[in-house]
């Protein structure tokens, strides 16, 4: 197993390099002199000269990439001009908030989505199936940012069950219950689309599995139908559900941008949008590379989980 994990980790290196190249190339599309573009309104001649010296911006493209990569590998993602702060510090702090939001959402959508898919498959064409299918259709069609706004309107403004926005109360203790009450609405709004997608794929994965011979064997053994579905069928269906969970994690992570805007959540997505509007290129660059790299690592974890779950995969 350890060898397998190591192998997967090594296979991530080219992907990470590829990601850095793509981000670098996208940022290189910016028209005009890069130093001026990065500095924007801070582009005094001294600043331009200093930046050119630090980042080698006057050098050819390939050389510039390696200087950038080298700096990043040493933990230097550059400096944000709009915030006057090291990019990495800012990104890490913001990423923390995003991780809390997206992580909670991911747990919600995985559990609810799979459960809904299983129930839907087990009661195929029954009332529960029809209700779930309709809810799923609604869920995957509603824009998360609109849903978030409507949730604020209903649950925060009218019913006053949850705070309207933010991650912490402005006054008062920053404890778990405060966090949870702030987290509930945004995490649910973010989870809805992914829940729908996961439910849909879980349903068809379950239907596929339920026709297999080993399900008939379980029934022939006299295993209770509950276990037939939740133990036998779901276990086998998980093999095709888990990769879907991995993909959806990416959607949840990046979809957090909208939710963070709607709920004023101090996450990395809102930071990126602000940075784009302020043309803080280094902050965007650093944030995107950092989040994408984290996502690659997460996908390796998904692969490893898959290896643990399916003994037929050579580990």
């Amino acid at each position: 197993m350890a060898g397998y994990i190591l192998k997967r980790l090594f296979s991530a290196i080219p992907v990470l390099l590829g990601i850095s190249i793509i981000v670098f190339l996208i940022m290189a599309m910016i028209p005009g002199d890069p130093a001026t573009a990065i500095l924007g309104s801070y582009a005094t001649p001294e600043n331009v000269e200093k930046l050119n010296r630090d980042l080698g911006l006057d050098k050819p493209l390939v050389q510039r990439y390696f200087i950038w990569l080298g700096n990043m590998l040493q933990g230097d993602f550059g400096r944000s001009f709009s915030l006057n702060r090291a990019v990495l510090d800012e990104v890490m702090e913001r990423f923390n908030a995003t991780l809390i939001l997206a992580g909670t959402s991911f747990v919600i959508c995985s559990v609810l989505g799979v459960a809904a898919g299983v129930v839907s498959a087990a009661r195929q064409y029954g009332l529960a199936d029809k209700a779930i299918t309709f809810a799923v259709l609604l869920g995957i069609s509603i824009p998360s940012f609109f849903l978030g706004m409507m949730m604020i309107l209903i649950f925060a403004v009218n019913l006053r069950w949850f705070p309207v926005s933010g991650m912490w109360p402005i006054y008062g203790a920053r404890d778990l219950s405060a966090l949870l009450s702030h987290l509930t609405l945004p995490a649910s709004a973010l989870a809805v689309v992914a829940t729908g997608v996961i439910a849909r794929l879980s349903r068809s994965a379950m239907l596929e599995v339920m026709r297999q011979d080993f399900i008939r064997t379980a029934r022939a053994k006299g295993v209770h139908e509950r276990s037939v579905i939740w133990r036998h069928a779901l276990r086998a269906a998980m093999v095709s559900i888990i990769p879907v969970l991995g993909i959806q994690a990416g959607f949840v992570l990046s979809g957090a941008v909208y939710i963070e805007m709607v709920f004023q959540w101090p996450g990395v997505g809102r930071m990126l949008v602000d940075a784009i509007l302020k043309r803080d290129i280094l902050l965007v660059q650093g944030g995107v590379v950092f989040v994408a790299a984290c996502y690659v690592m997460f996908n390796i974890a998904v692969d490893v989980a898959q290896g643990l779950l399916d003994p037929r995969i050579k580990t």
Binding site: M29, F145, F146, R216, A220, E225, V257, V288
Partner: protein, 628 residues
């Protein structure tokens, strides 16, 4: 044409189509409608409510007419979404076709790049592109199109690869056609349907994503507004004037939902598995729909398990396949009954009907009874069946690689079988499981118990299958071709194992096979099935010595040696009749060398021939001897 008809049968998809058509028409005629200018501000009339004096939908925070803005915004959003989809599809398809057509290194390099792009969380990549190009609707459009290119490239490449190696492409190459011409004339026409389907499933997404970027303030810039930026601008007044948010938000929802409904309909209409019902899950027990009173058991048989006039059908769409058309069978304690027939004769369905294991849909038991110790199991409540399954009546199935759960160890599956009926501790059950493995002569049972099915040989797996059947000391074992997948030596071992177990434990065995050699080795009595019915029945020795039904005689004639392993009974000319369209009279008549007109007229019944024997033929082979 049939595609449209299928689509129209799906009411939800039709609703989606209608709504979408309505929205598109509205968007197209917007410039012609007598609407207020969407961009004229009138701060005196801010935030007027819908249905009031200021237009149907009221006004927004700058006093602009909401209805007008909504329609113009919809127009813009649709246009941007469609444009993004077209761009993504064109570039993606071009990349996919090049990669798939040329293969080799080109393919490798391109697909590596595509994989890298797909490693990004989707929206993040779009944000990076907008960051580089700067905010603006056109840039948002480019970004959304760009992040969708990999999806198209990958799909189209897959299709192209499968086409690039077809004969007609090779033929075109040999005839000296250039690559470009081959791509345009041979490959493209085959790829376009896939592109269209991929577009129909992603266009909703693209509308949503461009709206999202506009919502974030990165897409359309004021005063121009698509639905997303309308929503974004309305956000600051969400609490005081929610209607300005609800109007554009609901519109996005309606559009995306209509597209999704339509997309689902298209997908369902194109998916052949849905039509054949292959995507429905079998219910816990076979459906029972008996309209006649089930026949009583016959006590004189002293049977532990008796089938009386059992009828099982498959209902697929409007067709009815009579897989089992009235079968009477019984087996006594300690006896082995063989059921033999070609594939499709209904022998397996008969066996599975006993415990309600025929998959339904499409299976339905429409008549007859199955008596186990005098209790009718057909139509018995699920819990009654479950308590008997594996406990008193156990099954051994054909292919143990498919019938054992691939992700649980052999031990876990055996322990589960025990604990399903006997609430013992896991440790006790494990000890019992090891004993079971030993009793089916699996060496090193203590270590093998922790193996997964794929780690065992075929013979070992089938022994595990038998051990599982024995787990609760059942009275009856129904073995459905348990040795067919095995080679000859292993087959012989398994058969002698079953024979020993039967003698040691007094088991009744129903053994289903297509191999007379196996019957001879194991069974006391045998029933021959053809087209869902028993055509001959009797003691094994008597039937082997002198088959009465022409079909039995032919079956035996094509068995060269006993226990010869996997053999199809193809040596009989012709095919068994399709059971949704059984001929009048004798079902075997078309393949029988003795068939006369009389055979095709009335129903041929199963008539007793001598002690313990019966045959369904008006001109049996040994009529005279057997009668004496």
């Amino acid at each position: 044409m049939s595609f449209l008809r299928l689509l129209s049968r799906n009411r939800l998809a039709l609703a989606g189509l209608v709504v979408m058509a309505l929205v598109v028409v509205l968007a197209l005629i917007t410039p012609l409608l007598p609407l207020a200018d969407p961009d004229v501000t009138n701060t005196a009339d801010r935030f007027k409510r819908p249905l009031g004096d200021a237009g149907l939908l009221g006004t927004d925070h700058l006093g602009r007419d909401l209805l007008s803005r909504l329609l113009w915004g919809t127009r813009l959003s649709l246009a941007v979404g469609v444009a993004a989809a077209l761009i993504a599809a064109t570039i993606g398809a071009a990349i996919g076709i090049v990669a798939g057509f040329y293969g080799g290194r080109t393919d490798n390099i391109i697909m590596r790049g595509v994989d890298m792009l797909m490693a990004f969380p989707y929206i993040l990549l779009a944000l990076a592109i907008v960051a580089a190009l700067g905010p603006g609707l056109l840039n948002a459009l480019i970004a959304v199109a760009a992040v969708n290119i990999p999806f198209f490239a990958r799909n189209i490449r897959g299709v192209t690869v499968s086409i690039a190696h077809k004969e007609f492409v090779d033929a075109a190459r040999l005839s000296g056609m250039g690559d470009v011409r081959i791509i345009v004339t041979e490959v493209l026409p085959n790829v376009i349907p896939v592109i269209v389907i991929a577009m129909s499933t992603t266009i909703g997404w693209m509308i949503l994503e461009t709206a999202g970027l506009s919502f974030l303030g990165l897409g359309s810039q004021p005063p121009q507004a698509d639905l997303g930026s309308m929503l974004g601008e309305a956000r600051s007044a969400l609490i005081t004037n929610p209607h300005t948010s609800v109007v554009p938000g609901a519109m996005i929802l309606v559009i995306v939902m209509a597209i999704n409904l339509l997309g689902d309909g298209v997908r369902d209409a194109l998916d052949p598995r849905l039509k054949s019902g292959a995507l429905s899950r079998p219910m816990p027990a076979t459906l029972v729909r008996r309209d006649s009173v089930p026949p009583q058991p016959r006590t004189e048989d002293e049977a532990i398990l008796a089938l009386r006039d059992l009828k099982t059908e498959f209902h697929v769409k409007n067709r009815v396949y009579k897989a089992v058309g009235g079968v009477d069978l019984h087996v006594r304690p300690g006896e082995c009954l063989g059921i033999i027939g070609e594939s499709g004769s209904g022998k397996s369905v008969t066996a599975l009907s006993v415990m309600g294991l025929v998959a339904s849909p499409p299976g339905v038991i429409t008549g007859g009874a199955v008596y186990f110790e005098g209790q009718d199991l057909i139509g018995a409540p699920y819990e009654t069946l479950r308590r008997l399954r594996g406990n008193r009546v156990a099954y051994i199935f054909q292919d143990p690689l498919a019938t054992l759960h691939p992700l649980y160890t052999v031990g876990e599956q055996l322990i589960e079988a025990v604990r399903a009926h006997h609430p013992t501790s896991r440790d006790e059950a494990r000890t019992h499981a090891i004993d079971l493995l030993k009793s089916v002569r699996i060496p090193n049972a203590e270590t093998r118990i922790d193996s997964y099915p794929h780690e065992l040989s075929g013979g070992m797996r089938q022994r595990v299958g038998i051990a599982m059947a024995l787990a609760n000391d059942p009275e009856v074992i129904i073995a459905d071709e348990p040795t067919t997948a095995l080679d000859v030596t292993v087959q012989a071992q398994i058969l002698s194992l079953l024979d020993d177990l039967r003698r040691e434990r007094g088991l009744a065995i129903v053994f289903i096979t297509h191999d007379f050699g196996v019957v001879a080795q194991l069974c006391d009595r045998v029933a021959v099935m053809y087209a869902g019915r028993i055509v001959e029945e009797g003691p094994t020795a008597a039937i082997l010595g002198a088959p009465a039904h022409p079909y039995t005689a032919r079956l035996m004639a094509c068995v060269p040696e006993l226990g010869g392993g996997r053999r199809e009974l193809a040596a009989i000319p012709g095919l068994p009749p399709v059971v949704d369209n059984l001929p009048q009279g004798c079902a075997f008549a078309d393949r029988c060398h003795k068939a006369t007109d009389a055979c095709r007229e009335g129903e041929v019944t199963l008539v007793p021939k001598g002690p313990d024997r019966a045959v369904r033929c008006i001109d049996p082979e040994i009529a005279t001897e057997a009668a004496q």
